[in-house]
């Protein structure tokens, strides 16, 4: 299929066939292997022997959409906890620490029970319980070797140690010199074999600081949170990744452990390793170390489907900052046959100075400093949104941006895109794919995501192939289907005088 498409387009693609011959899926077949362990964990290995280093990307198929009811922020909270070590890493005496941690948890649950009493709460008792908890926390903390997990990775040459919680998944990654492959396999498997959720409540306060930084104290962060809560009625995409403050402030270690036990199972994990490694060696080490993870069934997927929107939704957010405009339209998830059409539309509207929105809003109408259309917001796994975002230049207001967006949308619905325009989109996608192949960490992420989402890393290439098949008719059809008033949510940041007295009080950071 891949081949056939390429040939049919070869007259137009005067410039690309030679490249593709060198960088297509066939060339990657030779250096990429995949294996699923008996416990269900999948490993993709891609050889790149440019330098004695490698990168990996551990993909866990659980994100904020899996946050339990009343516990938004749990997936992200667990991501933080995955840096706290194991029974042998991060502790001076695990046996004693375990006992102290249990006391700490008991004290916390007692405290929380009292705090959430609807009637008959006793402030004095609450104070005592708080004191008891803080004391228990301090006791448990005595055994902690702070950040030993990160310390080991860094002292062994690990680079860019980090993790991310997307809307759809949680991922863990870093790079290492290739002689540390076995050490990596040990460390990464230990971390998910028996993580110890020590310092849970201190880390929850750290996450509160993260929320303050990304959301509470940022006009754009505040807008996005409000926008998603408006655009979604039922699906968890309506909830902030980091959690609503009241939920975040009541997450418990007990619940985090439950979340781990449910979602961090081998069959729910995909790891890609890219760099100066040999697949056989990686597979053998994977058996030895990751093979220790217990085999459990893959957790059931979320059932909630966002119901069809019945009328336009909008929200105006008064802010002391300059205006911003955002609108979004519901679209299907990434498995939809039109997925590539949305990619094409996004590219056509936004990519570079030839894009329609740049030329219209920025260059010609002179009303925006930046204007883009983007797909897959906030995620891809579940039906998401196609968004339009613009920053007006001084003296111009959101309604002008809205009108300009609508004009471009109307044009897409009623007129075919030019042949050259569409061809540029396709060519650029191929060039961008190639540019992404020459770097270990980016490639590891792409391979792991393709493998996890489609069950086949080759989809990384097939995706581009599907885009080559997009026609002008597809673009008109999908634009007409998607960009309708009743399918739309609008968020406008409107400038008002700064709040005085002060604004958001950052919702109590737990304790």
């Amino acid at each position: 299929m891949f081949r056939a498409v390429r040939f049919s387009l070869s007259l137009l693609l005067v410039l690309l066939p030679a490249i593709l011959a060198a960088q297509d899926v066939a060339s990657f077949e030779k250096k990429t292997q995949v294996k699923t362990l008996t416990n269900g964990l999948t490993i993709v290995v891609c050889e790149r022997h440019e330098a004695p280093v490698f990168s990996f990307y551990t993909h866990v198929d659980a994100g904020p959409a899996q946050d339990p009811k009343g516990a938004t922020g749990m997936a992200h909270m667990f991501e933080h906890m995955a840096f706290k070590g194991t029974p042998t890493i991060g502790t001076t005496d695990y046996a004693a620490e375990k006992v102290a941690m249990q006391k700490e948890e008991d004290a916390y649950l007692a405290l929380q029970g009292e705090r959430f009493k609807r009637v008959g709460g006793d402030p004095k008792k609450l104070e005592e319980l708080e004191k008891a908890f803080l004391q228990a926390q301090e006791e448990a903390d005595k055994y902690v070797k702070k950040n030993e997990f990160g310390e080991i990775v860094e002292s062994q040459g690990g680079q860019d140690l980090n993790a991310a919680t997307g809307e759809d998944e949680t991922s863990y990654f870093y790079s290492m010199p290739s002689n540390r492959l076995e050490l990596w396999a040990y460390l990464e498997s230990e971390r998910f074999l028996h993580p110890v959720l020590r310092e849970f409540y201190q880390e929850r306060d750290v996450v509160f600081e993260e929320r303050r930084m990304r959301t509470d104290s940022s006009p754009i962060g505040r807008m996005i949170e409000q926008f998603l809560a408006t655009a979604y009625a039922a699906h968890p995409y309506r909830n902030p990744n980091v959690g609503w403050p009241s939920d975040l402030g009541s997450l418990t270690r007990t619940d985090a452990q439950k979340f781990f036990d449910t979602y961090y199972v081998a069959s729910n994990m995909t790891i890609a390793v890219v760099g100066d490694v040999k697949p056989d060696e990686v597979f053998a080490l994977a058996e030895k170390y990751f093979g220790r993870l217990p085999a459990k069934p893959k957790p059931e997927d979320l059932h909630t489907v966002e119901p069809e929107q019945v009328d336009e939704r909008s929200i105006t957010i008064p802010e002391p900052s300059q205006p911003i405009y955002l609108e979004g339209y519901h679209r299907p998830d990434y498995r939809d046959p039109d997925d590539a059409v949305y990619d094409a539309i996004s590219d056509l509207l936004s990519e570079g100075r030839t894009s329609r929105l740049y030329r219209s809003l920025v260059r010609d109408k002179k009303i925006a400093a930046a204007a883009v259309g983007f797909t897959d917001f906030p995620g891809v796994k579940y039906p998401s949104l196609f968004g339009f975002y613009a920053v007006p230049i001084q003296g111009h207001k959101p309604p002008e941006l809205q009108a300009a967006f609508r004009e471009e949308i109307e044009r897409m619905k009623t007129q075919d895109v030019g042949d050259g325009e569409l061809q540029t989109v396709k060519t650029r996608a191929k060039a961008n794919l190639i540019r992404g192949l020459g770097e270990n960490s980016g490639l590891a992420a792409q391979l792991a995501l393709a493998q996890a989402r489609y069950g086949d890393w080759r989809e990384l290439f097939y995706n581009i192939d599907r885009l080559q098949k997009v026609t002008k008719e597809d673009i008109r059809r999908v634009a007409n289907k998607t960009f309708t008033a009743t399918n739309r949510t609008v968020a406008v940041v409107e400038t008002v005088a700064p709040p005085n007295p002060p604004g958001p009080n950052g919702a109590g950071g737990g304790l």
Binding site: A51, R180, E209, G503, G506
Partner: protein
Amino acid sequence: MKRATKCLLAVCTVICAGIALAQQPWQQVPIPPLAKFTPQQPTRIQLPNGMVIFLQEDHELPLISGTALIKGGSSSEPAAKTGMMSIYSGSWRTSGTQKKSGDQLDDELEAIGAKVETSGGVDTTSASFNCLKENFDQVFADFLDVLEHPVFRDDKIALVKRRLNTAISRRNDEIDSIAGREAGKLGYGKDSPYGRQAEYWTVAAVTRQDLLDWHKRHFAPNNIIFGMVGDFDSKQMESRLRDAFGSLPKGTPYNPPQIPVPGPKPGVYLAEKTDVNQSEIAMLGVGIRRDNPDYFAVRVMNEIFGGGFSSRLFKNLRSKQALAYSVGGGIGAGYNHPGLIDISMGTKSASTAKAVAALYQQIDDLLNTPPTDEELKQARDSILNGFIFAYDSPDKVLGEQLTYELYGYPKDFLERFRDAVDKVTSADVHRVARKYIDKRKLAVLVVGNPKEFDKSLAEFGQVTKLDISIPGAPPGAKPAAAGQD
């Protein structure tokens, strides 16, 4: 059972302690020696007209890219025209040339997935390209045309100015942009080319003629360092480049400005922002230059103090005290001027004073006691074991060489760095900390919502309120129409 286990452990500990420090399980995982790796160095060529060229072959992907660094950047733009380099670089490529308009170039290049772009920096401006190998002839011709024959069209200049004015009007919207800007102004001085900011009138003051003049003055082969990386043959490429650049006439050599960095006026500075619940705190002072022999010890100190997961700031202020999500910093080192000491964190409004005190405490600890052997080993191991990542791709190696050439550093600076870090002692770290960090000389910047602070900042010294309002006209002038093109 429990008892038995405990006993066993106790016995083991006693026995092991006699042999060595108890080895943790992770330490028993074998680590074979790292395969020998000699990074491929680019070929350096100097043309008779003074232009320096670096060619770095990389045949992994069918791509070619190149960057021409032209000496002279915002550090030598006139103060009254601050922002000129942004306007220059932002309208250079987009205006196109006599032969092709910028829009035409956009269409042609995008159609083949290629890029030709210009950008501006503190010490250089640059033009670069990136394309599939097949398109090299076409893209390189456009690149040369842009490099040599810019036209700076009025409509594209106006477009950049609109953007800059919009950025000025929005510069107080996000707290991190306020903190970054005010830190630069405090640390380097509000009139220093490293710290000053563009205003509506400095943007308005820039003319097309200024841009043409700048290009004429700076674009000369003896002021250019050109680096290329990708799927080409160096020998063939060399002759191609000799043809392309060999006939350019020499120009006046660039004379870099001497910019003093006297350091901030000590004190506490407060920029008020009422729509936030978190404060940004930065402690600022003068850092060092990278050619300072103390640079290596400073790097180890930074690693111990404010580097990654294992640093003191991260461990104590984030993991232990849970005061911050983002915390870090150390002594900055510039290539041709001192960097800034910048130790910063974000903490909830209600713990602002507590966090300032905690940062001071960390600085005290750093100055009062040398790092432990474990800390030193951790920091040195991190730098040395991760050293391979400084040159694990041909374009990284090329990038290093371009930088060393630009600033006149020895081409083996990276290797010298590694050897020197290997020799840094705990006493060295302590010495440089005391030499460069003086608590009394630091400026403390707080951006936040003082009504929610836990305590007044006055306990840390005289508090100066920073006026961050956005002026429409220069002080003393009658208000101009702000932000018109």
